[in-house]
């Protein structure tokens, strides 16, 4: 497939760019942070996103969605990266929608997807139990009890946990922490007795939380996908997450780069624009080259998601590894090339750097994916 957007995808990208820059620019995130907003996102903006159809981009038409595909959703994520818009888009519309759509029973799809699409249902995916991504290191237990299960444990750094109506949680139904097999996924109502969600504040001013589960009783219908066989669903979810996080990181890289080049054309030192100095020009040109490489891996991996390609897992790791490297370079250079002003909270550049580092860590950082790439290639 040609590595270009089709007309509809281009239109979606342009409309996302127009909407976000007008209604949810970086200033919105700054305001949410300064007000210490309880929700951590702007409800009215989310409602508008829902009206634009974004919550249903990955949901089949049969369940009320647009069925527009990952390449389209990737464009929305990329534009969200440019504006750092805080919303449940990633947790609900990308991750939960993909999880339910790929592993849910018909009954689960009917019950959850239409509500997800109309914006009335928010979900969060809770896999981590520590600060680094390690999906098989699951200690949270799900013991069989009567017809259902009882869950005990703690999930960490759950994106959007404290605003979610329901959680999709990985827990161990057999085996030991570190085993790939024996993990199952459950859909838990946040209001279930024994579920305690504590918001945590990360550098990026976006939502994160710790989720403690104490004797949480679930029915058999809470199981999402195969019992003991959650590993393959988690692998798929990680691919979805990493490719869309990469799209977001690509948007951030481009935005920071463009703002930095613009600054180089405005700031004078020693009587000349700093952009006229070759030492700085070459650093900008190198970033340009690296961003071009990042663009290609993102569109290729988004297409692989839509095609459910055999190489999806490999391409997802290529994508996250390369884009993480590029965004680290560009945000660091963005601060450095802005000089003193780059260190101030007043300038937006710092917001991009902080969001980038959190997004890089989610679902595995650069080193994790470089190692995984080697393992998948059998060396």
């Amino acid at each position: 497939m040609a590595l270009v957007l089709n007309e509809e995808q281009n239109m979606l990208k342009e409309s996302a760019q127009g909407f976000l820059s007008e209604h949810a620019p970086v200033a919105q995130l700054r305001q949410l942070r300064d007000e210490r907003s309880e929700l951590g996102y702007d409800k009215a903006t989310w409602q508008q996103m829902v009206e634009l159809g974004w919550s249903g981009i990955l949901v089949p038409e049969a369940h009320g969605g647009l069925e527009f595909g990952h390449v389209g959703m990737g464009q929305v994520m990329e534009e969200n990266g440019r504006t750092l818009t805080a919303s449940p888009l990633l947790s609900t519309a990308v991750l939960a929608a993909s999880a339910i759509n790929s592993a849910g029973t018909e009954a689960q799809k009917k019950a959850l997807l239409p509500a997800l699409v109309d914006g009335s249902l928010l979900l969060a995916v809770a896999l981590d139990e520590g600060p680094k991504y390690h999906p098989s290191l699951v200690k949270t237990s799900a013991m069989a009890s009567g017809e259902g299960y009882v869950l005990n444990g703690e999930k960490q750094f759950v994106c959007d946990g404290h605003i979610a109506d329901k959680l999709i949680v990985s827990a161990r139904t057999s085996g030991d922490a570190g085993d790939e097999q024996g993990i199952s996924l459950f859909i838990i109502d946040s209001a279930t007795p024994g579920v305690e969600i504590e918001r945590v504040y990360l550098a990026d001013s976006r939502n994160s939380s710790m989720v403690r589960l104490s004797n949480v009783e679930l029915g058999a219908d809470a199981l999402l996908g195969e019992k003991d066989g959650g590993a393959s669903l988690i692998t798929y979810l990680a691919a979805v997450a990493n490719v869309h996080l990469s799209a977001e990181l690509l948007g951030m890289s481009q935005e920071v780069f463009e703002r930095t080049v613009q600054y180089m054309k405005e700031r004078s030192q020693y009587g000349a624009l700093i952009g006229s100095y070759q030492g700085l020009q070459h650093r900008a040109a190198h970033m340009f080259s690296e961003i071009e490489l990042a663009k290609s891996v993102v569109i290729k991996a988004l297409q692989a998601l839509d095609e459910n390609a055999a190489k999806l897992s490999l391409l997802a790791s290529v994508c996250k590894a390369k884009v993480s490297e590029v965004v680290t370079l560009v945000t660091n250079e963005g601060v450095q090339l802005h000089g003193g002003i780059g260190m101030t909270d007043e300038l937006d550049i710092g917001f991009f750097m902080k969001r980038a580092r959190v997004a890089e860590q989610q679902f595995g950082d650069r080193r994790y994916h470089v190692q995984r790439f080697a393992s998948l290639q059998s060396y």
Partner: protein
């Protein structure tokens, strides 16, 4: 079956029947690539035969017009031919600066007479072309070149010195940048002329490189007579042509980062040399990481070539990306050979001896150092990106 499917089926059948088995093996040595020309000595009957049958169909230059001996294929057919050749690891039947550089320039800018004189011979691999661009004092600053070309009414007279002429001692003809107007602003007084290397006054002297090889020469031009009809384009239009040619050259050099399907991957080299895996992983974990990072980068690079190609076809390209590809591709190719020599340790640095392929890897490694110098240095590519794409101005 669509026309293209039919073309693919016919092409596949024809290649299967006509591409000799020996021409499907990886290129190991310089002579395995056929460069053509009057001085070329074919290493095998297969090599000559493969060139002849492909040239007869114009498939050495598949997308050039058939009226000048080219294949006359459209873009889709050309792509299919490349894919089908790639599928069976067929070697390109001919490598030459005629195909990659002066041919496209002649098709774009040359007179009808020049096209009829030169294009068919390029397609058939009959003439080895070399490039007369750089001069001892004008490398990166190419537009300052000083080789004089005087108008002597019925002919031109050329005097000066060129350097980094590829294989000048084997080349048949040179396409050469010369100064035709010494008073004009430097870019404005340059022209492109063609001449036979056996013309009196042309002499060459090889330059020995760090690789031990001498692929380049100095070329001395002493009262060389050039016919008037061998001017390409208009007088003083040379810089425009040179820029056009350099774009082609960059694409070609940048493409060296591309790993052919038949080539062994870096990680396979490491597995073979290190004597297998430990628990399914390379024992040298630091090397494993560096190889994986490089393989991720080269994949990103290949996808970028593909994407830029697709964008160009879709008419959405931003242009001016040849500098980016040249910069990224050559830097990656250098890294590849740094890793390869590392993997092979001191054996990778062997200079001679049959046991070490006569020092092939070491000379290849050293040759790659030139990738980021020739065709405009990496620093020049970064300058071009800064100024033309990013709009970062000159000082003052």
């Amino acid at each position: 079956m669509s026309d293209l499917d039919q073309f693919r089926a016919q092409t596949r059948e024809w290649l299967d029947a006509n591409c000799p088995a020996s021409q499907r093996l990886p290129v190991m040595e310089f002579e395995d690539k056929c460069w053509g020309g009057t001085q070329w000595r074919f290493v095998s009957a297969d090599q000559k035969n493969w060139l002849d049958v492909m040239a007869a169909r114009g498939w050495t230059a598949p997308d050039w017009p058939a009226e000048y001996g080219g294949g006359g294929l459209n873009k889709e057919e050309t792509k299919i031919l490349r894919e089908e050749m790639y599928r069976i690891d067929a070697r390109p039947p001919l490598f030459s600066m005629g195909l990659s550089m002066i041919g496209p320039a002649l098709l774009q800018y040359g007179s009808e007479e020049l096209k009829r004189q030169h294009i068919p011979n390029i397609v058939k691999g009959k003439i080895w072309w070399c490039q007369g661009y750089s001069e001892p004092n004008f490398g990166s600053d190419l537009a300052g070149l000083q080789t004089r070309c005087e108008d002597k009414d019925d002919h031109f007279l050329v005097n000066g010195q060129k350097v980094w002429t590829s294989y000048a001692e084997r080349a048949d003809w040179m396409f050469c940048l010369v100064r035709t107007d010494p008073d004009a602003v430097k870019h404005a007084g340059i022209s492109l002329v063609l001449f036979d290397m056996t013309t009196p006054g042309v002499s060459t002297s090889p330059i020995k490189l760090i690789s031990g090889n001498s692929p380049f020469c100095e070329t001395f031009l002493d009262n060389v007579r050039v016919e008037k009809d061998q001017l390409v384009g208009n007088i003083n239009q040379g810089w425009e042509l040179a820029s056009y040619l350099l774009t082609h050259e960059r694409a070609m050099i940048g493409n060296m980062g591309h790993t052919a399907a038949s080539e062994k991957s870096l990680h396979q080299h490491a597995i073979d040399v290190a004597g297998g895996l430990e628990n399914g992983q390379l024992g040298d974990t630091a090397l494993r990481t560096e190889i994986a990072q490089w393989e991720i980068d080269i994949l990103a690079f290949e996808l970028t070539q593909e994407r830029i190609d697709d964008e160009t076809k879709a008419g959405t390209g931003t242009g001016a990306t040849s500098s980016m590809l040249k910069y990224a591709g050559t830097e990656l190719n250098k890294q590849r050979f740094e890793l390869l020599t590392d993997i092979h340790g001191q054996a990778g640095l062997a200079w001679e001896g049959e046991a070490f392929d006569n020092g092939l890897l070491a000379s290849q490694w050293l040759r790659t150092k030139g990738n980021s110098i020739e065709g405009g240095t990496s620093e020049i590519q970064l300058n071009i990106i800064s100024k033309r794409i990013l709009g970062l101005g000159q000082k003052g």
